[in-house]
């Protein structure tokens, strides 16, 4: 029989190592396969963006992590616990994609009510302040604008001070200004050592707010890494230099270069590993001048990785 101290110790170890661990998730809705083998490991404290087009399996993954949906195969542990147990222990807060608020309650009442369900909620006034709801805290939930309701839903997700915060497309249907405000309050409230998993199809959000991007397409994880790693994965870092001499074929042969293009005296190299390519370029062609290294956009990575083509196969030595 394990002592209480052992249990606490084990739990502590689990928490330190893993926020969320999902292995081999499969889920089908009738003939439609929503997930075909998703593995996802999120260390505690990390902010992860789940990025992908509609139908990629983001919401299905999130619903499984939250315990709202049971996978056909595979397993999820949240801080070492099954999702339902983690939810009951008050470790999880979430903002679901669909859902409106119950009527006939004020903003303050609703946020207090949800906070009251958690063992150690945050101070309601602080949450209302941080989410910009203080001035409208006496208003009934049915009288809110779309952006205000969205902020209330966010306040509900964080008021319990959960260790894991899950947001399913939190800014969908918001205008640019409201989106900016949302992420500002998100930084204020949620950035305190929480594990955060958010789904989005706004690339710039993933780029700006996530430590790590998990790119999904057709029910699979197609790329996983820091925003920069995901961009690099599709060879979208480019080196541009003034270098009249060498032929395109010579340049493509350099290590770390996926494609090369000549534009008059300038060459443009698409790189899989721009550091390696740059070193090779300088050692082979010391006369190169005006060197520029530019990161590609996550958008390019997104389109490339989710379009269903075999990875990069068609791009090596692509014509000018």
């Amino acid at each position: 029989m394990a002592s209480l101290a052992d249990v606490v110790g084990a739990a502590q170890g689990d928490i330190a190592a893993h926020g969320v661990v999902a292995t081999g998730l499969h889920k089908a809705y009738g003939p439609v396969k929503a997930l075909s083998g998703v593995d996802l490991e999120i260390p505690a404290g990390q902010t992860v963006a789940l990025l992908g087009p509609n139908g990629a399996g983001k919401t299905t993954t999130i619903d499984i992590v939250l315990g709202l949906l049971r996978p056909d195969a595979g397993e999820v542990k949240v801080f070492g616990l099954p999702p339902g147990a983690a939810v009951r222990a008050g470790l999880v807060g979430g903002m679901l994609q669909v859902g409106s608020l119950v009527r006939d309650m004020t903003v303050r009442e609703l946020v207090s009510m949800v906070g009251g369900l958690y063992p150690r909620p945050l101070c309601v006034d602080e949450v209302l302040e941080a989410t910009g709801l203080l001035e409208i805290s006496g208003r009934y939930t049915q009288d809110l604008s779309g952006g205000q309701a969205q902020r209330v839903r966010f306040a509900i997700a964080v008021v319990g001070d959960p260790a894991l915060l899950v947001l399913d497309e939190p800014t969908v249907a918001l205008d640019v200004e409201a989106r900016r405000e949302f992420w500002a309050s998100m930084r204020g409230v949620a950035a305190r050592g929480k594990t955060v998993l958010f789904a989005t199809h706004y690339l710039e959000e993933a780029d700006a707010f996530a430590d790590r991007v998990v790119l999904m397409a057709r029910g699979r994880v197609v790329a996983d890494g820091t925003p920069n790693e995901v961009k690099a994965k599709v060879g979208t870092r480019t080196i541009r230099a003034t270098l009249p001499g060498p032929s395109v074929a010579e340049l493509v042969a350099l290590p770390g270069v996926a494609a090369a293009e000549r534009r008059g005296d300038d060459v443009v190299l698409q790189c899989t590993d721009s550091d390696l390519a740059l070193r090779a370029l300088l050692s082979r062609f010391g006369e190169a001048r005006g060197i520029e290294v530019r990161g590609g956009s996550l958008e390019e990575a997104f389109v490339e990785l989710t379009s269903g083509q075999p990875e990069r196969a068609g791009r090596v030595g692509a014509p000018a």
């Binding site: 209480l4 859902g99 119950v102 006939d104």
Partner: protein
């Protein structure tokens, strides 16, 4: 990760869950008392019907029972039945707007959610009963004190199957079909049970069939108030069996509903 949060994992929060459930119930009650339309329709109809029928037949009696007492029991059973089933019906509404999914990712246990809806149904039923009692007393309907108590107690017991019915329908139907379904089913139960007047007479096969309905015994709770004696064994059995069957149906509906995406 703060050490405090680790403590939540390892240490059970028995007291915390109970308090959380009570806190949740408080807001469920606040909500219903703010919903004026709900009160107008669920309390207003039985009250108006009672005042009109009992008031205009002030001195008449049915089977030896003064109409103002007889009709009181009918309206109490119909009104409280409506109140209790609509408590479960609220589940359908909260499901439709996605609020139940939001609650399912908080620590609120499922039993506390359902219990809260049942208690809410019972509280509104009690309001309906008290309002009708006040109207009855204002019209000089007379019962002994223990008569009032027996009647009230039996009505509250007799409402149990209807609470389970509300939860079953709340987890099965969408709000657009729930309204007519609840209205129709409770009207049918009320009619057959004799809430709007005796339809089965004093004896015969039809009466034997009607006696198998929980609403019949809900109406009979009023008669028990007059005779100051509880239901016969048959009444307790019928109510218990309906409660068990509908309770099982409610559990099934809940499980089917929450297993779905």
């Amino acid at each position: 990760m703060s050490p405090a949060a680790v403590g939540t994992l390892a240490l059970p929060r028995r007291k915390g869950v109970g308090l959380a459930a009570l806190g949740y119930l408080r807001y469920d009650l606040i909500k219903v008392f703010r919903n004026r339309r709900y009160f107008v329709f669920s309390l207003g109809f039985p009250l108006v019907l009672y005042v009109v029928v009992a008031g205009s037949n002030h001195h008449a009696s049915f089977f030896g029972v003064p109409i103002k007492v007889y009709y009181l029991t009918g309206m109490v059973s119909w009104g409280s039945m409506n109140a209790v089933t609509s408590g479960g019906g609220l589940i359908s509404l909260e499901r439709a707007v996605g609020w139940s999914r939001q609650l399912r990712i908080t620590p609120l246990p499922a039993w506390a959610y359902i219990a809260s809806k049942v208690v809410r149904g019972y509280v509104t039923a009690c309001v309906a009963i008290v309002v009708l009692y006040i109207a009855a007393l204002a019209m000089n309907a007379h019962l002994q004190l223990d008569g009032w108590l027996i009647m009230t107690g039996l009505v509250l017991v007799g409402l149990a199957p209807f609470a389970a019915l509300g939860i079953t329908l709340g987890h099965t139907l969408r709000p657009d079909s729930l309204g007519p379904a609840l209205g129709g089913i409770s009207a049918l139960f009320a009619l057959l049970g004799g809430a709007w007047g005796p339809i089965a007479g004093n004896s015969g096969t039809f009466l034997e069939v009607v006696k198998l309905l929980p609403s019949y015994w809900l109406v009979q709770a009023g008669a028990a108030g007059l005779t100051r004696s509880a239901w016969p064994l048959e009444g307790w059995l019928v109510v218990a069996v309906w409660t068990a069957v509908l309770g099982w149906a409610a559990a099934l509906a809940y499980r089917r509903d929450t297993a779905r995406a």
